[in-house]
Amino acid sequence: MRHQALNTFGRSGNPVFGQKFDGDAQFADLPASQKMTLEGTINKTGILLLLCFFTAGISWNIPNPALMIGGMVIGLIAAMVTIFKPTMAGSTAPIYALAQGLFLGGITVIFEAQYPGIAVQAIGLTFGTLASLLICYKTGIIKPTENFKLMIVSATAGIGLLYFVNIMMSAFGGGEGIGFIHSNGLMGIGFSLVVVAIAALNLVLDFDFIEQGSEKGLPKHMEWFGAFSLMVTLVWLYLEILRLLSKLRR
């Protein structure tokens, strides 16, 4: 049986919110201690970030392809379970954060070896974007609407499709796939800028989902789900900023 929260909350630009819903269920009968709150979601995001930093530190100090690939695969499985079983988010979201830390630590070492100082730049810009967009959202400077959601979801799907085709072309003899995705020319840098912007605007959808979720008083485990969705977007944003910075320094 599908959880009531999924009947209430549907799709956002973030793939983790990709659930269908049928009605407008209410959670008024839940006790206050079992309802989703903003504070709870932010605290849980902090826990996930700490877990991610912890394993990223391990992977940074002991660079090992097995750790990286293992982290990527486990992270993907944990993400899938969280998306399809949000009630398990309390246990799968921390696993996702730990696994992604291993992956991110490893990939950061590779970039840092080629472009010294790039890691701290990417981390600073990622969290800088997070804080700026949070302020823009909270103050109402950016007001997400249905059309905004449509554009961000569509653009995210389009980029996903492009990356998928690129991987397929690379895997089946198409050289390096779609050329400009990796190039440091004008098109390549422009493409990366667009992708960074789309990834960043996904954060606004995450904020709106969390804000409305706490207004409606969704069940407590949705705090983990909201924190997980923010983590997914932050991981994507970090990787895209890392890629953009590397193109700029080539």
Partner: protein, 70 residues
Amino acid sequence: MDLNTIFFGGLAVLSLAVFFYFGKFKASKEQTDRDDRINWTKGSFNYKSCLTIALGIFLLFFFLSFLGLD
């Protein structure tokens, strides 16, 4: 510690502090009291439009790549 680390490290710490402080407050009335808020509670999402735009974006970049632009 070089300037790069001080500047971007400081930016990261400051931004996290802003996130953990302001994230716990409700959004302003200007944000919450609107008629055109995203309605997460009903299935108003237009999948056909989404797919069309997504395919458009994909084809645009794919065509540009086909032309050999990089």
